[in-house]
């Protein structure tokens, strides 16, 4: 264990952050809400797997197949411990989106009926909205939305009324566009009392906040590996065991079966019942390395660090507000994760992002896959800076200077 962590020391573990851009600038990566960078340890895990023990799992009796199976299942245990779950409750998926769709098709089609209510919020990413639109269309259920105010803070005054008749509450842990942290300690007990099943889209939650699924008391928690230092193509659905046991399989094929006859199949036990076909072995093992890395740093440190960064960003960028910088979101580090959306004068977010790019600064511009929220707020697009463990105040200084450069380029 390393006693004192600094973002500079952490950044040194990420090879991509040491490579200058084509313009010879330092890479200032402020788009971790889209995907995080990967530490050398994760990259090494992938290289070792493919160069030393690549083999299919659960079948081979030879040495490298056994080693692959062992590492793959150990990865599941690592992830389960990280969220305080049982390994049988950790289902590998491609990403959070697939995990949410799994619940929609398997649990949803079995449990949601005409007239039921699916409650979600106005802040949701398309991934936690479109699957429920499809489920509502198929079942005759109704979608309802917890409103957000113009800072993107959820308005919970009428929560009990909104939950009336709700079969499912599907809500994000953290908004990908505004960083708003959903007060699950308030929302979950209310949903429980109303008898709703609770799914949390944790794509932006688990990379940045400590997550204990038992303490949160959620039924499903979906997340992606690539936003938490892991590889792309691997994600997780956590589900309470009793619920997963009762659910029908989602995809059918190899590995998810126990016995197949021509007319009938007996399905495998949890968690494999939901893992049809050869799994993403390398990336699951890579995700476990990412989880080990985060565990060593400590999720409390991660949260505290991002809180500080957001606080510094709000302070550092405030003087630009008089020159046309509009900062969106709660603007309160206690209420938000390390995400900051903004616009600058009449500079379109895409132009702003292009100009920042010339300084090596990576930010996202657009609707961030939250088109209904953008429409509601009246923003055609925003630029978004999002922070992670390797970012420091120097990156935020660079962002502020980059915005000044945009002012010069646009003759403002």
């Amino acid at each position: 264990m390393i006693a004192v962590r600094t973002p500079q020391a952490i950044a040194a573990d990420f090879p991509i952050l040491r490579k200058p851009t084509s313009r010879g600038k330092r890479l200032i990566y402020l788009d971790s809400a889209a995907t995080s960078q990967k530490p050398q340890a994760v990259i090494d895990t992938l290289v070792t797997y493919y160069s030393e023990y690549n083999a299919n799992i659960h079948r081979g009796v030879y040495e490298i197949a056994e080693r692959a199976t062992e590492a793959f299942e150990a990865a599941r245990v690592t992830v389960a411990r990280f969220i305080n779950a049982d390994y049988r409750e950790v289902i590998w998926t491609r990403n959070a989106t697939e995990a949410i769709n799994l619940v929609g098709y398997s649990w949803g089609l079995q449990n949601v009926k005409a007239g039921d209510v699916i409650l979600t919020s106005q802040l949701e990413h398309h991934s936690n909205l479109v699957p429920w639109q499809l489920l509502a269309e198929k079942t005759g259920a109704t979608l309802r939305f917890i409103p957000a105010d113009d800072r993107g803070v959820l308005q919970l005054d009428n929560l009990d009324r909104l939950l009336d008749g709700a079969k499912l509450l599907a809500i994000s842990h953290v908004s990908n566009t505004l960083g708003t942290i959903t007060p699950l300690d308030r929302v979950v007990p209310a949903a429980r009392a109303a008898g709703a099943t609770i799914l949390v889209d944790g794509a932006q939650g688990i990379p940045h906040l400590p997550v204990d699924v038992k303490e949160l008391d959620v039924d499903f928690y979906a997340f992606s590996g690539h936003k938490m230092l892991g590889p792309t193509g691997i994600g997780v659905l956590y589900g309470k065991r009793a619920l997963l046991e009762a659910m029908p399989p989602f995809l059918a094929g190899g590995d998810m079966i126990r016995k197949v006859e021509y007319e009938h199949t007996t399905f495998n036990d949890l968690p494999w019942k939901f893992e049809a076909g050869t799994s993403n072995i390398a990336d699951a093992i890579g995700l476990a390395t990412a989880v080990d890395y985060l565990t060593e740093i400590g999720m409390d440190w991660v949260r505290a660090h991002e809180r500080e960064l957001l606080g510094y960003a709000l302070e550092r960028l405030a003087p630009l507000e008089s020159r046309g910088l509009a900062l969106y979101g709660p603007k309160d580090p206690a209420l938000a994760s390390g995400v900051l959306s903004f616009n600058f004068a009449d500079v379109h977010a895409h132009d702003l992002a292009s100009i920042l790019d010339t300084e090596g600064i990576c930010v996202r511009a657009g609707h961030h896959c939250t088109m209904p929220l953008m429409e509601k707020m009246g923003w055609p697009a925003t630029a978004r800076a999002s922070f992670y463990i390797y970012n420091s105040n120097a990156d935020i200084d660079a962002l502020a200077e980059g915005i000044e450069k945009a002012a010069r380029v646009f003759k403002l």
Binding site: A349, D351, P380, A381, V409
Partner: protein, 129 residues
Amino acid sequence: MDDFYRDFILDHYRNPRNFGKLEAPSASAEDLNPLCGDTIRMDFDVHNGVVRDVRFSGKGCAISQASASMLTETIKGMRLEEVAKLSKDVVLENVGIGISPTRMKCATLGLRVAKSAAIGEIAGWPDEE
């Protein structure tokens, strides 16, 4: 990329030419770049196969809006068949160098809309026997 935002581009962005809508257009088309949400609409007033007047409207970045603005100046007075055959070279000639590959989609949005307005109008013409 920062070289791209020259004075004439910013001028077209902030003071777009032929901006607005025609009351009774003979041809129009609209499209969006789903990646960024930029939208452009083009209205043509066509007389004897010639674009006599053109208006564009929409929302988006300096690249898409300035390109569309300049394109309206290019196509005014052109025959519809010529508009339908325009390539992205016309956009490059208008805006000059310095567009990154990802931003080319912004730059050519107006062109795509103008061409579909022209092609749609031509398709509606009676066959010449």
